[in-house]
């Protein structure tokens, strides 16, 4: 750093320009696949869209009308909904424990550590795990929607717990202390002060977990299997968008690939919708990380 007050040499200027150019080029390069995928999703996916695409189920027929994706949409909503019902209370519960009670105790740190470990577990492992303990062991039948929901909830749980912990930590201690000083017991302080204040952040974290789970294929492949028809029975096999796409891709027939694009666009739109809500809620939150 000898260059104090000496004019910047042209070589250094050129290096600077080149480096800026390269980083910009690489940034744009990262966006090329995004635009290509979006382009194909819109081009091929919109081509598949029609009224009957959303109002009929896949027929499974080898020739002729392949049918739509109604049962897949309904199945994804049910399975992910059930997974949310399982994962969100548990995840927030864990976070509450860590922040309000466990703090830096050895047990709390162990829980934190293992939740971190869980975040890194590949989703296929959760599918395999549920496949072994619930499907092969034939607990209440074999493949079933609720088993897929549990596999997804295992995936969501650490995401919800981690993000909730961060949000709960953002709440100023003064708020807690003033509630306690007013004579409120701890549980009341948690339900009347902590949770309401953290609510938008908790919702955002949960929505992001939902967005992540909705696109997962591997955990469902092992646990829910595949059917064509519409079903709302969580004790049975169920269709879902990711599995529908996966099946159509592997069959490689033009009309099925077309449906796969349509289903993919639908799935991406659903995920974007959930992510968008998460962002809007986050924006309205008073606690900004």
């Amino acid at each position: 750093m000898t260059a104090v007050l000496t004019p910047i040499s042209s070589r250094r200027r050129a290096t600077d320009r080149a480096a800026r150019g390269v980083t910009l080029a690489l940034t744009l390069l990262a966006l090329v696949p995004l635009f290509l995928i979006l382009y194909f999703l819109l081009k091929e996916g919109l081509g598949a869209f029609s009224m009957s695409f959303f109002t009929t189920d896949p027929t499974g027929r080898f020739l002729g009308n392949a049918g739509g994706i109604r049962s897949a949409i309904v199945g994804t909503v049910i399975i992910v909904g059930l997974a949310t019902v399982i994962a969100v209370p548990l995840g927030i519960g864990v976070a509450l424990y860590l922040v309000e009670y466990g703090k830096q105790s050895r047990f709390a740190n162990a829980v934190r550590y293992f939740i971190d470990v869980m975040t890194g577990v590949p989703s296929v492992m959760f599918g395999l795990f549920i496949y072994i303990v619930l499907v092969v062991a034939q607990i209440d039948g074999t493949f079933a929607a609720w088993k897929g929901a549990i596999a997804l909830s295992l995936l969501m749980l650490p995401v919800v717990a981690r993000s909730s912990e961060v949000v709960l930590n953002l709440i100023p201690n003064a708020l807690r202390e003033s509630a306690l000083a007013l004579g409120a017991p701890r549980w009341r302080m948690i339900f009347r002060v902590v949770l309401p204040t953290a609510l938008p952040g908790l919702v955002t974290g949960s929505m992001l977990a939902i967005a992540r789970a909705a696109g997962e294929t591997a955990p469902l492949l092992f646990t829910v299997a595949f059917v064509n028809g519409l079903s709302a029975n969580v004790g049975q096999r169920m269709n879902s968008l990711p599995i529908q796409i996966f099946n159509d891709v592997s069959q490689a027939q033009d009309r099925l690939v077309q449906r796969a694009w349509g289903a993919a666009l639908t799935l991406v739109l659903m995920i974007l919708f959930v992510s968008l809500i998460a962002r809007l809620v986050q924006r309205r939150s008073r606690l900004q990380p």
Binding site: G81, L82, V135, A225, V227, G229, N233, R237
Partner: protein, 377 residues
């Protein structure tokens, strides 16, 4: 948006999903919610509607005809057949593990596979239709059917014959001008009855094949691209110039593949056609347990890689885990396959069973039991 579920009840989507969430929060693990396809009591238009669902998994070879049957069977008696085409290996495995109500394979279970299924009972093989394993190719410049014999096909799949104008191919096709395109082999990557049947044919005409990769549902391929299912191989052939693969006839027709005429036992080159496949069935003499194969069968007009395909059920379906209602539905499904289904077969270029074999198969179905007594229905 009003949607109709399987029983014909109309639900409002909003209420439906709300109900599903409420329901699911109450009933984790309990199949208590909106049981749409297990209740046969709902009102239906046709009187013969039985409803219910059967889950099956197995071979991709007959998947086209099974899915067609499933659609018509559903129209006929309202029963949903969920057939997952996962390959014969997967079909036998899931059948043995009891994760499906019926299995499907196009190579009969081996003795050790039957032994492995013992805890559930005695597996019964119900042959359904015959189909042709075509040698399909996608080569610019060869529009007409090539003639190939077993030894040459084996050499292609061994990687010894590497271009389409190789001497071995030219010798069988005098008069055709062959391009010098490189051969790209497409084969199955999953455990497949189609592979077993195809390799059985290759091994019959090639010592090198017999000693090398051998005959099995999956083998160690010396060359080529692997793909899952008949559909996967079809996609592989379709995407690659110079590709050759083995797929069931329906897949070849669907993709407009050119298929080779293959030299049979009598020395005639026979194209994979419905009569040539039927001829293979007519020449077969199955044993009592119906575990038979029609590969490399006798007869002047017989297509040599014609294969029979089976549905798998347990002799006592209830002891194997099905309830009485499902047992009845399963019997209906098998009766359909051997009855009305046979006439549907030709629409997708499958050959129906010869009468003698059909009679034997029907006897097996009639003999199925539920907890020791014949299944009503």
């Amino acid at each position: 948006m009003g949607i109709q579920n399987e029983e014909g009840r109309t639900l409002r989507l909003q209420r439906f999903s709300a109900a599903a969430v409420v329901c699911s929060s109450l009933a984790i693990g309990v199949a208590a919610c909106g049981s749409s396809n297990d209740s046969s009591s709902t009102t239906d238009s046709a009187s013969a509607q039985k409803g219910g669902t059967l889950n099956g998994a197995g071979a991709t070879f007959p998947a086209p005809i099974y899915s067609e049957w499933a659609a018509r069977f559903k129209d006929k008696q309202g029963t949903t057949i969920n057939y997952q085409a996962v390959g014969s290996g997967g079909g036998i495995a899931q059948f043995t593990a009891g994760t499906v109500d019926f299995g499907a394979t196009d190579s009969a279970m081996k003795d050790e596979e039957i032994a492995a299924a013992k805890s559930k009972g005695v597996p019964v093989h119900v042959p359904t239709v015959l189909g042709a394993v075509t040698v399909s190719y996608n080569v610019n410049g060869i529009e007409k059917g090539l003639k190939l014999d077993g030894a040459t096909v084996a050499d292609i799949f061994l990687g010894k014959v590497t271009s389409w104008n190789d001497k071995a191919i030219a010798a069988l096709n005098s008069g055709l001008t062959l391009p010098s395109t490189k051969i790209a082999v497409c084969h199955r990557s999953d455990e497949s009855g189609t592979t077993k049947n195809f390799t059985q044919f290759l091994a019959a005409y090639s010592k090198a094949w017999d000693k090398g990769p051998g005959v099995d549902k999956s083998v160690k391929w010396p060359t080529g691209t692997g793909a899952k299912g008949n559909d996967g191989v079809a996609a592989c052939v379709k995407q690659t110039d110079g590709a050759v693969g083995y797929v069931e006839q329906a897949y070849a027709l669907q993709n407009n593949f050119t298929t080779a005429s293959v030299k049979n036992k009598e020395g005639n080159f026979v194209a994979p056609t419905l009569p040539a496949t039927s001829a293979a069935g007519g020449a077969a003499t199955p044993p009592e347990d119906l575990r038979f194969s029609t590969i490399d069968g006798p007869g002047a007009d017989t297509y040599p890689i014609a294969a029979v395909t089976f549905l798998l059920v347990y002799q006592d379906v209830c002891k194997a885990g099905l309830d009485e209602k499902k047992a009845g539905l399963l019997k209906d499904w098998l009766n359909y396959a051997l009855g009305d289904g046979q006439a549907v077969a030709r629409e997708l270029q499958y050959a129906k069973l010869p009468d003698s074999i059909k009679t034997m198969a029907q006897a097996k179905v009639d003999g199925l039991q539920c907890n020791g007594t014949a299944i009503a229905g």
